[in-house]
C-alpha cells in the first residue's frame, strides 16, 4: 500500500499545460447510501461503516465490477468535524460492540484498511492513508489510474453526524485559543468556510452594489434542485420547498449569513469508481471521462482573506483548470461549484466565467432563469444546500448529466462537459468531466 506523501499526484501549480491523462481515465460507477440527519447510535446497519460499504457495493454493481477487480481504495479517514468535536466527533462508547464494531472504526470513523478488510478486497495495492477531502480525492484517483498506480479504484467519502448541536465540543468548548486559533478565536472566529467567505462577501456587496438577500433566488433554486435529486436528504425526508419569503425571514447565524445559507449536516457516505477509459468502455455504464483535475492551496496575506485575494485565487484556479482541460469558459456545459455556504458560490461562478458571468454579475445572474430546464442551469446538483452536507452532489450530478440519466434534473442545454468541485476559494480542487474523451 502506498503513502500519499511519497506519491506526487497533485496538479497544484500554474502553467502545467494539458493534463497528460486527459480522456484516458473515466468514472464508471457511483453509489450513495441513504442520507440520514444523524446516526442514532443504535442501528448497526446505519453506521458510517455500514453506509460506506453499501455505497461501495452500489458503485461496483452499477459499473459491473467484482471485488477482486478493485486494486485501489481511496477513503477520507477523517470525519468532518475535525478538532472542533461536538455532534460530529467520534462517539467512543465503552464498551464497543462485536466485530467489526469493536473499535471506533466503522462507527464514526472509516479508513481504507477497515473497508478493505470488511469488504474482502483481496487485490488492493493502493490504499493511501492521510487522504484529504473529496475535492482532492477525485483528483488523486484520476491521477493514480492515469499513472498506472492502480487501475480500478474506489473513492469513498463518508460524512458523519451525531446527536447534539454541530461542532459545539472539542476546541470550540475550550477556554483557551491554541495554535492558529490564537489569532482568531478570542474575537469569535471559530474557523470555517463561513468566516472565510463572509468578510469578502460583505466587501463584494459594497463594491458591486447588492445586498445579501440577493442570494435568495440562488438558495431557493438549490433547494428546488435538491428536491429533484432522489437520493438527497430533502427529497427523502419530505422537506418542503424553500421560498423567498422563508429565506428572507430566516434567522441570522453570522449576520448577514442566514440559516438557509448554511447546509444541513448529515450522516451518509458516497462512493465512486474510477478506472481507465479503456476498461470503462467494457463496463455497464457509459464512461464519463476525466478531462482534468487541479488543486490549489493559496495562502492568505494576513488574518482574514479579503475580496481582492479571493478574486485573484478563483481566477488562478480557473486558469489552472481550463489550461489542463484544454477548454475555456464557453466549453463548460454543466457547472457544479461548491455551495456549502451560499455566499461563496458567486466567487466561483465569476472566476470561472460560466455563461459569461463576470465580476460583480452574479446577483443579476441569480435573478434570471437558473432552473435546470432553463438556459442557465447553475448547480444542477442542488449542491449541499439542496441535498445535505455530503459534499458529493456536485460530482454525482455531473456524472448523471453527462450520461443523460439525471431524470427531472436533466438539463435541456448541451451536456457534454461538466465541472465540479468541493472547495473553498483558498484550498481544494476541481475536476472536469467529459461525455467524450477529447
Amino acid at each position: 500500500m502506498s503513502a500519499p506523501d511519497r506519491y506526487q499526484w497533485r496538479r497544484d501549480k500554474d502553467g502545467l499545460g494539458v493534463w497528460e491523462h486527459r480522456g484516458k481515465v473515466a468514472v464508471a460507477g457511483f453509489g450513495h447510501s441513504p442520507v440520514d440527519r444523524r446516526w442514532d447510535e443504535v442501528s448497526m446497519d446505519q453506521t458510517l461503516g455500514a453506509y460506506s460499504i453499501l455505497a461501495c457495493r452500489k458503485a461496483m454493481e452499477e459499473a459491473g465490477v467484482m471485488p477482486d477487480q478493485i486494486d485501489g481504495v481511496i477513503c477520507c479517514d477523517s470525519h468532518i468535524a475535525g478538532g472542533s468535536g461536538g455532534s460530529a466527533s467520534q462517539w467512543a462508547p465503552r464498551p464497543y460492540f462485536a466485530p467489526p464494531y469493536d473499535s471506533e472504526w466503522g462507527l464514526t470513523l472509516i479508513n481504507a484498511q477497515w473497508l478493505v478488510e470488511q469488504m474482502g478486497l483481496t487485490n488492493v495495492k493502493f490504499a493511501p492513508t492521510g487522504v484529504p477531502t473529496i475535492s482532492e480525492m477525485v483528483g488523486m484517483a484520476a491521477q493514480a489510474v492515469g499513472d498506472g498506480v492502480c487501475s480500478t479504484c474506489l473513492v469513498i467519502y463518508p460524512t458523519g453526524n451525531l446527536e447534539g448541536r454541530y461542532r459545539r465540543g472539542g476546541e470550540n468548548a475550550d477556554d483557551y485559543a491554541r495554535g492558529a486559533r490564537q489569532w482568531t478565536a478570542p474575537w469569535g472566529n471559530h474557523g470555517g468556510n463561513d468566516f472565510i467567505n463572509m468578510f469578502p462577501h460583505e466587501q463584494y456587496c459594497r463594491k458591486y452594489g447588492g445586498q445579501h438577500d440577493d442570494l435568495a433566488p440562488f438558495v431557493v433554486n438549490q433547494h428546488r434542485n435538491g428536491l429533484l435529486t432522489p437520493w438527497g436528504y430533502n427529497a427523502t425526508h419530505n422537506v418542503s420547498q424553500l421560498t423567498i419569503e422563508d429565506y428572507v425571514n430566516s434567522r441570522y447565524i453570522l449576520n448577514p449569513l442566514r440559516l438557509w445559507d448554511c447546509d444541513r449536516p448529515v450522516n451518509a457516505s458516497t462512493a465512486y469508481l474510477f478506472t481507465t477509459a479503456e476498461r470503462a468502455r467494457d463496463m455497464k455504464q457509459p464512461p464519463v471521462y476525466v478531462l482534468n483535475h487541479s488543486q490549489h492551496n493559496f495562502r492568505k496575506r494576513s488574518t482574514q482573506e479579503d475580496l481582492d485575494e479571493i478574486e485573484a485565487w478563483t481566477d488562478r484556479a480557473a486558469r489552472r483548470m481550463y489550461e489542463g482541460a484544454g477548454l475555456g469558459p464557453s466549453d463548460v456545459d454543466v457547472f457544479n461549484p461548491y455551495d456549502g455556504y451560499a455566499p461563496m458560490t458567486q466567487f466561483f461562478l465569476e472566476g470561472f466565467q460560466w455563461h459569461g458571468v463576470k465580476r460583480g454579475d452574479a446577483f443579476a445572474f441569480y435573478a434570471g432563469d437558473i432552473r435546470v430546464e432553463g438556459p442557465h442551469p447553475l448547480c444542477s446538483s442542488g449542491g449541499n444546500l439542496g441535498t445535505g452536507r455530503l459534499r458529493t452532489a456536485m460530482y454525482t450530478d455531473s456524472i448523471e448529466q453527462l450520461r443523460g440519466t439525471a431524470g427531472a434534473r436533466q438539463v435541456t442545454v448541451r451536456a457534454e462537459t461538466a465541472l465540479a468541485a468541493f472547495t473553498t476559494p483558498s484550498s481544494g480542487g476541481w475536476i472536469m468531466f467529459g461525455k467524450h474523451p477529447s
Binding site: 470550540n172 441570522y252 453570522l254 449576520n255 496575506r301
Partner: protein, 136 residues
C-alpha cells in the same frame, strides 16, 4: 464577558509579551520590507526566516468589513451574542489585518471605513489581547 484566552507558543510569545506590555508589534521582513501578521516561521513572500524581526507599529487602522455573530460555536463567547466581528486593516500596511469586536460600538452600528486605534483588553490575569476602538 469572557473571551478565549490566547495560549502563546514559542513563535508567538514575543508578540503576546508585547501585548501584555500594551505594545503592538508585528513581524518585519528586512529583505522584502514588508510587515507580517500573524507571525510565521518565515516571510511568506521571500521565505526568509533570518530576515524577520519584531517591529513595533502605530496602532492605527480602519474598518474594512464586519459581520455580527448571532449564533457562533464558541461556548465561551455565547453570552456575548450578538457581537461585532470586524476586519481592521493596519494603516502602516493595509495588507495586514486584525479581528476586532470593536468595544464601545454596539452591534450592527458599525461604520465601514471608520478609523480605529488599538486598545488592550485583559482576558485572564496578566494576559491581554489587542482590540480596536473607533476613534471619535
Amino acid at each position: 464577558m469572557p473571551k478565549l484566552i490566547p495560549a502563546p507558543d514559542s513563535l508567538s510569545k514575543p508578540f503576546w509579551d508585547a501585548v501584555n506590555q500594551r505594545r503592538l508589534v508585528v513581524q518585519h521582513c528586512a529583505q522584502c520590507d514588508r510587515l507580517q501578521y500573524p507571525p510565521q516561521q518565515a516571510c511568506q513572500v521571500c521565505n526568509s526566516a533570518a530576515a524577520l524581526s519584531w517591529q513595533e507599529v502605530e496602532g492605527r487602522g480602519h474598518i474594512a468589513a464586519y459581520i455580527v455573530i448571532e449564533d457562533g460555536r464558541l461556548n465561551r463567547r455565547m453570552p456575548d451574542q450578538p457581537y461585532n466581528l470586524a476586519m481592521v486593516t493596519l494603516d502602516a500596511d493595509p495588507r495586514v489585518n486584525f479581528y476586532s469586536n470593536l468595544p464601545g460600538t454596539p452591534p450592527y452600528k458599525v461604520r465601514v471605513g471608520a478609523a480605529v486605534e488599538v486598545t488592550f483588553e485583559e482576558v485572564a490575569p496578566n494576559q491581554f489581547i489587542h482590540e480596536w476602538r473607533v476613534v471619535a
